[in-house]
Symmetry: D2
């Protein structure tokens, strides 16, 4: 059974520890953290886990796969070292704090022939998977546009702004659903509370197929919203993660264009049909994610959230940031949106 | 009592006829429409109203004030003629299909010393007025940003796209609330159903004070949303027009920044207080609007929704349209957002 | 075409006048009201309608069908006189203020071979009809129970208490859906604001098939609720009239009982399937109701809301009132619930 | 520090174990369960806890307080033995399966001068406490009535019916809020899925002050509802536990009765004011409950959910069950509602 070690026991690490311990598909054998208190807590809770304060010593243990849940700025160096040490690597989202670093990790994983996996957990959640199935089956027709809102009050992150903290989720969902990478994008935001860090932003994205997307993200909003609307030519879907009863609703609604019989105008008719909310199984995304990672390591399968996938997410964030409102008054820009 | 005549009995005109007839503040004496069937219907329902098929004859009657509810492309010519004939003018929103025409009407009204009023009805609705009071009182603190969503399925307009049809409402609300005109703006949209006409768009606006705003508008959305969120440094407000019980909710929530005592980081603390939903009186906006128009005509007061106000709305729409996504690939643009 | 006359232009009458005028299926020819102002208003709005202050004169006109929208206490006398004058009769709900009077009207209508119709408008509304279809099709399986809530603040009625004002709606819906009349019932309520008149009540009903029902009604409640839940052995339905988007939701949910394989306990398994909200056409119940009345008069068909149906509604209200809490301390009662 | 032992590690016990371990106010020293697997799990998770399979041995340990979380039918015997052994006792709700047994426990605790505490956890939850404060402060005026709904699909209990499983919560909340015990009550329900056990029921209660209450409970309902409405003469409150954002809403609404100036009718006017949702702290009820228990043991204070309180809850359930619909046809009953 795959021996897995975990690096980073801060905010998110303990959740990964729980599922690593819970899953019968892998063996949780080692943990690494600079902070001895964090380390103690984990090794006390999981007595069979060996604790390491030194990352090199950790890498020299018999762990076959390394799960990295440290601050974003450290992802690149830790993942690189783990790959070079011949380990499979699971790195929390985003894969790195720059697209160029992400690309280097992808190349390195190709060279070492080991799994490089990015922890975009939403991709393993039942509602996100259900919408993906609806899109791929053709039930929705051609996708016209996607609108995503992810706002609430807090939690401010100390190391990144709201785009890197929240849009990373929505961009990963978009790339997964649409299976393509945006060719143009822009961001518009404001640093309201702290002078250097945007806490609200609005993103525009355009995809090669012509689909457009919009993403509203905020740490400074009175009501919590986790709402996504996918509008297709045949059907429309609303995925509302705050709706505890029906997270995904499929609307049999649309507009039909009738060819004008003679020189008249185009006629539009509205199609108003039933709505249905498919039953969603009650699976834990994090457990699913870890077990998919283990399966990829053992069978050499390419992960749904591969290093390549994670790199595209980071590149998209970089692209939209190149055209933030702060640069509107720099007349040197030659186009509204940045292009990849 | 002010004698009022109405031009245009199509989709919206009958509503204006109803309140003109209902109000004790004015006398509804004349109606004008090219279509004899529309005209007949009105004069039968309001027997004291004289019907005119000819606009010139209508202008030569004893009406003192003219209410124009015709297609947008005709607003300019009809309003101009009415002003030149020495009438007060109420013209439906938007005031004209171009900022330059709007400006000419404003100048003309100044010259003739008559009231020029634009029918931005939302400005007279209880929840919009309540939010204005909250902003002006300082209860919300400094405004950080405003996010507005106005989406549903249909109704497609034959003469204008979704920006001119729906954003006109939100832009008027923004200008009223903030009391300033945006200095930068851009739009991003797509013509999904008909090749020439956008049915979904996302607008960005930036105001001189630094406030930013976002507006999502769509004719192609499965759920109807009429939601506006105003985030201030002290309090936050959600105005949801689809909530039949509590349209305005005021949240005593925010983020406080504590000065770092020594070389440490800034500390953020969240303020989570009560929410309250002020009682809103049950007044009809349209009736209020007409009675404000009548009062302006009679007392020479400047309307809340003056010609100047309506011109600024049209100029804002023109500004955002200058930077639509369609122009992203034209490398001749020198800046992301258009500037006034 | 059937010539129809309307009696009573108070609170509800003008709505009936509007649809009588609007429908192409009948001719609205006469109106009767004691109050000359009410009468004037109607005859001015509908100039072809002849106004009568005297009911006998009204009955001697050429009206073939009489629509009665007067206070409840007058229903019996007016309906009786109209039937005796050889007219078809539409009487607003409830048909009379006592079951015995309702029965006399039913007998009289049988004798005169004219239509006796009760204005239970909800029976003609799209969501109520949709639930009826779901029940009758067997889609819901056997019905276990129905729970109905109808509460809000106001409007207090001057002539009746909350049971006669609000439960009349829910009881009519229940009788229509289930096609049977309750054999037992009781009410529990309180007169909170006025000493003699209950403004909140809870009703229990039991039907011959074993189905039970509960009805919560109140004039004294802060949130408006119009919610009905029908629980069947195969599926469950929620009909929420306050939900502007999806009034009827069908849940493929339930509990299955597995026979114990050996001496063990019965095993229960939950069935959690999709939910769907059928599209409901946007028809006006009042217009449908009036046109069904006209069709019944002309074709001799028995109305869905016949005199017999209306009498059963009144008898049910009388039954539950016989066991109100006020009588709990009378030790002469021999059973908890009243029996018909 | 108080040494606490826990009996019963089934469905609910592990939650109690967690807070006993978490609280700095007590020492979690012993656990007792017949099932060695349950016991192993707890002692492995909390290595300092000593496990006992034998209840007598457990009682002979140095535990000073015993927390009982076993099936209802065993509450009486275990609590009795613990009290006789000189321990303080926390017993899960309901205190016993019969009022007579509850009374014996109360007497025994009085005699032994030890704390007898019943685990009615809702009484320690922030929204329930907030409503209690609103009632006690007089802000709501005189309470007219309370309506409580607690319905969802499952979980069927194997040992009790829906009244003992769900109404126990609502009755405890009612007794806590109103500070009085009902003098009359009745239940109406149906055993839909299993022939012997009611899975839906409707309860009526009347209190000495004249307040009435209604409770709808069901294991067989498609939507989850946890809604309580308290109607007072001055204000009204809705406590909706399913609302993740605002659980308690206070409405400044009501009806005023104006004395008739002369022989006229009473005039009613509606008061429609603001709504507000007080901020509720994010405290865990279970932890609060355990810490209140510890304080009572140590300081000899009478618990909010004392044995007396728990006995009144059980007596209320017994009272309403005496008049279930099943007994409607027994003509020997002399009154509609049972009296205590």
């Amino acid at each position: 059974m795959l021996k897995v070690g975990l690096v980073g026991m801060g905010y998110w690490g303990p959740n990964l520890a729980r599922v690593l311990n819970q899953s019968p598909k892998c063996e949780f054998v080692a943990a690494c953290d600079l902070n001895p208190r964090n380390l103690d807590k984990i090794t006390r809770q999981y007595p069979t886990v060996v604790g390491y304060r030194d990352f090199d010593a950790f890498l020299q243990s018999d762990v076959q796969a390394v799960v990295i849940a440290t601050p974003i700025s450290t992802h690149y160096e830790l993942a690189k070292a783990a790959l070079l040490a011949g380990k499979h690597v699971f790195v929390e989202k985003p894969i790195a704090d720059a697209g160029s670093k992400a690309r280097k990790l992808v190349e390195l994983a190709n060279k070492t022939q080991h799994t490089l996996f990015v922890g975009h957990t939403f991709i393993y959640s039942p509602p996100v998977i259900k919408v993906k199935q609806l899109i791929d089956s053709g039930d929705l027709g051609d996708i016209h546009y996607v609108s995503l809102s992810r706002v609430n009050l807090g939690l401010y992150q100390s190391d990144v702004d709201v785009v890197w903290d929240l849009a990373v989720h929505d961009v990963s969902i978009l790339l997964y659903w649409l299976g393509e990478k945006p060719i143009r994008g822009a961001a518009f935001g404001r640093a309201c509370v702290q002078s250097e860090k945007r806490d609200v932003a609005f993103l525009w994205l355009e995809f090669p197929s012509g689909i457009i997307a919009h993403n509203e993200i905020s740490w400074l909003s009175p009501q919590k919203m986790r709402r996504t609307c996918v509008v297709g030519s045949k059907r429309m879907v609303v995925y509302d993660d705050m709706d505890s009863a029906e997270k995904v609703k499929v609307y049999d609604r649309g507009v039909n264009v009738k060819e004008p019989s003679n020189f008249g105008e185009f006629q539009l008719t509205y199609r108003m049909g039933d709505m249905y909310a498919p039953y969603l199984e009650n699976a834990e995304p994090l457990l699913r994610e870890i077990e998919h990672f283990v399966a990829c390591c053992e069978q050499g399968v390419i992960p749904t959230t591969s290093g390549e996938f994670g790199a595209q997410v980071v590149e998209t964030l970089e692209m939209v940031n190149r055209t933030d409102v702060a640069s509107w008054n720099t007349s040197t820009m030659s186009s509204v949106g940045a292009q990849l």
